[in-house]
């Protein structure tokens, strides 16, 4: 009876559902999709060149790691993403805070950042190649362009959303500008900022594939592209799967840390 009412809550407008039930529903949906995929491919309804079976995808991922030193490709891709992401964050965090705190900084940078933000990143690939050649620099540069201009605006918005009461409280307790930013603004915006960083890190992976497909001889994107050239569809899927798993795992780790570190929000 109790279980039945929990199931009903799933279909209630803004219903409250136990966390475990929600988890099982999520797992169930995942299993269902994979099972359907296996059935469709197992029955030969789709040609394997177009859609290989999940078993074939996993086994080719395994083979890539075992025979082709795939860990090196994964490693270089992860390194590119993190270097570019950290380079974005290191500049975007202070700049975003200053943009929201001082109109002089905001008025100068906001129109510029807004403009660059709408430029299509893949179109900048030729430029990064002209500027920095085909080495690591051009790839990191592309990822940096793709994330920095988005991130800086997200950070500025996070800073803007800090209640004015906090700032004024700090002021009336004797904090100067620097102290206000360090002791009040930064801790107040921290939970939202970590979320902004997490979302931006996801975008980094999108641009990574663009960069690696166009000009690289290593990395997951490169592997996906060469596999396509040789018609190895299972290995294309394996590469996509690898990115998905890395992305999901990173996201979950950051979420977990978020819950741990920002316990005071619960």
């Amino acid at each position: 009876m109790k279980r039945w009412s929990a199931a009903r809550a799933l279909f209630t407008f803004r219903g409250r559902v136990p966390a475990t039930l929600e988890l099982w529903v999520g797992i169930g949906a995942f299993v269902f999709v994979v099972a359907a995929w296996q059935v469709v491919t197992g029955l030969g309804l789709v040609k394997p060149q177009f859609l290989p079976s999940p078993v074939a995808v996993v086994s080719s991922l395994w083979r890539l790691f075992r025979d082709d030193n795939y860990i090196a490709d994964v490693g270089i891709s992860v390194a590119r993403v993190w270097v570019a992401f950290l380079a974005s964050a290191v500049i975007a965090i202070p700049l975003g805070i200053l943009m929201s705190s001082y109109r002089a900084v905001g008025a100068v940078t906001e129109p510029l950042v807004d403009f660059v933000r709408y430029l299509p990143v893949p179109a900048l690939v030729p430029l990064t190649l002209i500027w920095l050649g085909i080495g690591e620099g051009s790839k990191v540069m592309l990822l940096w362009i793709g994330t920095f201009f988005q991130l800086v605006l997200l950070i500025a918005e996070d800073a803007r959303r800090v209640p004015h009461e906090f700032i004024e409280t700090g002021r009336t307790l004797g904090a100067g500008d620097t102290a206000l930013m360090k002791d009040v603004l930064l801790p107040a915006m921290m939970p939202n900022m970590v979320d902004s960083l997490r979302i931006t890190l996801g975008w980094c992976w999108t641009y990574l594939i663009v960069a690696e497909i166009v000009a690289a001889n290593s990395g997951i994107g490169y592997q996906i592209w060469t596999s396509r050239r040789y018609g190895k569809t299972p290995e294309v899927f394996a590469g996509i799967l690898a990115i998905g798993v890395i992305g999901l795992a990173t996201d979950q780790v950051i979420r977990l840390l978020h819950r741990r570190v920002f316990r005071y929000l619960a």
Binding site: P163, E165, F166, E168, T169, R171, T172, L173, G174, A175, G176, A179, D183, V184, P187, A188, M190, R263, Y264, L265, A266
Partner: protein, 277 residues
């Protein structure tokens, strides 16, 4: 600063203060007009009341240096107020305590920027004020674990720990339920007796105003001017318990202030309707 000026000058003085904002379409919106002159004594508990949106909060925020007068001056101990500082403590209705700090650290934040106090003394003083508001058992709690009333007590303790000359309170109990509010009002009076702080308190709750105030300043609708000053301390005992609200003097004061504000509210509404038509 020579001692003579402190003795002769009023503790807080508004000298011909006006305030206006530039509204939409570049129109000047007058908040305080005609020029406001007012003095507040050291240790006095002054409550500002008035119709909503009349500018009473702006008047208080100017004492805190969080707003600047358009003309005129505000003097604190004979010195013009030029901006916010530790001398003018502020307690807000919401977001009054920092969620990322534990209760004791919130109170300790009040002393964070004092160079004249050692780290050990900061902790000792913070504990003293936390004890004074009765929250010692919650010292290591984050503020999301304590009630709204307790959070306001944390904010009050933090402000007192900073040792300001004047405590500015912007509807600090406005978001609390009636019983909690009553208890906090009593505690605030006890605190003020112990600490002898000057308090400026803004509220729209007339009952609260009469219960707390030595003097109530009733503001008109915008642009604000002083409609009446009600000296509550002449009619109510300094020692106030909950029973005081049952006395005829209390009821009469409450009625007097309420009638003034009601008239103002009706007049503004009539003016707004006329303006809209």
């Amino acid at each position: 600063m020579p001692a003579t000026t402190t003795q002769s000058a009023p503790f807080i003085e508004f000298r011909e203060v006006t305030k206006s904002f530039t509204g939409p379409k570049g129109r000047d919106i007058e908040v305080i007009q005609p020029p406001l002159s007012l003095t507040i004594d050291n240790g006095e508990f002054v409550v500002f009341v008035g119709p909503s949106g009349c500018g009473k909060t702006t008047v208080m925020r100017m004492v805190g240096g969080l707003e600047t007068p358009t003309s005129g001056q505000i003097l604190l101990q004979g010195e013009p107020v030029t901006g916010p500082s530790r001398q003018k403590g502020m307690v807000f209705q919401s977001y009054s305590s920092f969620p990322w700090l534990k209760v004791l650290d919130n109170v300790r934040f009040g002393l964070k920027y004092r160079r004249d106090v050692s780290a050990a003394d900061k902790t000792r003083i913070a504990r003293h004020y936390l004890d004074l508001v009765g929250l010692m058992p919650f010292a290591e709690y984050y503020v999301n674990r304590i009630s709204g009333g307790m959070r306001q007590r944390v904010a009050i303790a933090r402000t007192l720990a900073a040792d300001p000359l004047v405590l500015l309170m912007d509807e600090p109990f406005g978001a609390l339920d009636a019983l909690t509010r009553e208890r906090l009002q009593q505690q605030l009076l006890e605190l003020q007796k112990a600490e002898r702080k000057t308090i400026i308190f803004v509220t729209h709750d007339v009952h609260e105003a009469v219960f707390l105030a030595d003097r109530i300043i009733v503001f008109s609708a915008r642009p604000a001017h002083v409609l009446r000053e009600v000296i509550v301390s002449d009619e109510l005992p300094a020692e106030r318990t909950l029973d005081v609200s049952e006395t005829p003097a209390f009821r009469r004061l409450r009625h007097e202030v309420l009638a003034l504000i009601r008239d103002e509210e009706l007049r503004t509404e009539a003016a707004e309707i006329a303006g809209a038509a």
